[in-house]
Amino acid sequence: MAIPGGDFSQFDISKEEKDKLVAEVIRYILFKTHQNSGCPIKREELSQLVTKNYRHRSLPAYIINQAKEKLSSIFGYELRELQRSRPSSTNQTRLSQQSGVDAKSYVIISQLPAEVYKKYVEDVNTSHMTGFTFVVISIVQLAGGKIASDNLWHHLKRMGLHETNENHPVLGNVKQALEMLVQQRYLQKDKVSGPEGATLFYELAERALEGTVSERIKQYITQIVKKDSTTEDIS
């Protein structure tokens, strides 16, 4: 099939057309990421850019791969693919009926080493969201990957973050900030019907389950916990 990196002659389009398509896809990714503040972009949206004008079936995959390469070589961004691996229970029945749904989505992640990123690239005006993200994901992870909404808010309250607070000095509307995490696919919401009616659960979603992210979070949690336990020993 498609020979990686080179042979697009099978697609019957010129190099210029191919380049143009790749550029369009990259631009789409960059602008869309800005517009939706880092929420994953569905693969379908990218494919559509290609299939809008060209019919060849495996062309979208080829173009997306090329875009991935270019994003890395020009910007140092990785186009990371997220897979919707764990459908929430409410979606179970629907998904089983849809066969062959391309549930892949993409985010761009900087490939720079962490120290470099932190020192030069990171926008200090958005680091509060990063901090919030880390805290929430850690809580959910420590709870086993899934936590009841009430329980989560209980923990957040201990840090001064209340569900009803719309004017937090740093986060603004705290509930909305949490919603943002759902949209960015760090968390997913789940309604579980129990004896007392439906309870809302938050579960880790693709972005938080992704290998490197998951690992690092565990590391950081360990660091924090270790620090605390040593101080306890001393006292």
Partner: protein, 318 residues
């Protein structure tokens, strides 16, 4: 086949993440990453930028520099050159907000006195309905039918919030006397728009003369930026219009409250070179002027609402 290294990537990513950066901040990042100061190793700096732009041009993007019209400071940013379907997505602003922004920029651009800003009240009084009528070109039979509800219902407080957000994002800025001026992003991004809208360009640097001195000769349309005047005429001390030879007053006693003070003469020390900085980095940068040493330490935090335009030795006074 990596043309760009992680150092190039860092420079690009920092501009993308943090928005337009002051020259000194951009330079200090460059120095920190490459170990070489752009001031002393200009060739290397230009080399880097050229390389970056070669790659970016594939995507119709550009890394370029521009001057803040109000204080003459240089900023670097990554700019989009083509308005296509994809770039139209690249905004979090709603349609009425964008129309409002456009109206403000138009008002500033079309100001014949080249003051470069409009007062807050005027901005808030802009009626979006006029924008729609202007755009459609023809009058609809019933004026209100052609205007989307969102435009009609754009309240005063929404306008205020929009202005605040635009200032934070650097599309607009607050000038010293609480007026609204164009922000650095607009200067970077809307360059071609200003040219097309007929804003006279500065004779010296050929950038849009939004806030500039006009030739006192009524018939002459020459405009020159305040900071460009200094570079061109600093040694001579007398300003003569390049086109009509009228003498310009060095300290014009204009009635407007936005005027220069005597501090001008103190500022001369910070500009050793005699040539203007071109905004297209791709074209060869000639000798660069030293930036004024701005008092505060901006290293960590360049982003954010820069509403404090205190005149220290800032080159650009009103």
């Amino acid at each position: 086949m990596a043309v760009l290294s992680w150092k190039h990537h860092t420079l690009i990513q920092t501009l993308l993440e943090r928005g337009p950066l002051l020259e000194k901040d951009f330079h200090s990042i460059f120095t920190a990453i490459t170990g070489q100061n752009p001031g002393t190793h200009q060739g290397k700096f230009n080399d880097y930028l050229l390389k970056i732009n070669r790659e970016l041009s594939y995507l119709q993007l550009d890394l370029r520099a521009c001057r803040d019209p109000y204080d003459g400071r240089v900023y670097y940013g990554v700019v989009n050159n083509v308005s296509d379907e994809q770039s139209k997505l690249g905004t979090k602003y709603s349609v009425p907000q964008i129309a409002f922004f456009k109206a403000i920029v138009e008002a500033i651009a079309q100001d014949v006195t080249a003051v470069g800003c409009i007062c807050n009240m005027d901005a808030l009084n802009i009626k979006l309905e006029n924008q729609v009528l202007n755009n459609s070109g023809s009058q609809s039979q019933d004026g209100s039918l052609g205007i989307p509800a969102a435009f009609r219902n754009f309240t005063m407080s929404q306008k205020e919030k929009t202005i605040d957000q635009l200032v934070i994002d650097k599309w607009l800025c607050y000038t010293e006397d609480d007026n609204i001026g164009v922000g650095v992003r607009s200067v970077l991004d809307l360059r071609s728009w200003f040219h097309n809208a007929g804003v006279p360009s500065c004779e010296v640097c050929n950038e849009a003369g939004l806030k500039a001195r006009s030739c006192p000769n009524e018939g002459c349309t020459v405009r020159i930026h305040q900071y460009c005047l200094k570079t061109k005429f600093s040694q001579k001390g007398v300003i003569v219009c390049p086109s009509c030879d009228t003498q310009w007053q060095y300290q014009p006693p204009k009635a407007e409250p936005l005027e220069l003070e005597d501090e001008e003469t103190e500022v001369m020390q910070s500009q050793p070179s005699s040539q203007p900085l071109q905004s297209q980095v791709q074209s060869s940068l000639r000798s660069r002027r030293k930036r004024e040493r701005v008092g505060r330490n901006d290293d960590a935090d360049t982003v954010g609402c820069d509403t404090r335009r205190v005149t220290r030795q800032s080159a650009h006074l009103r």
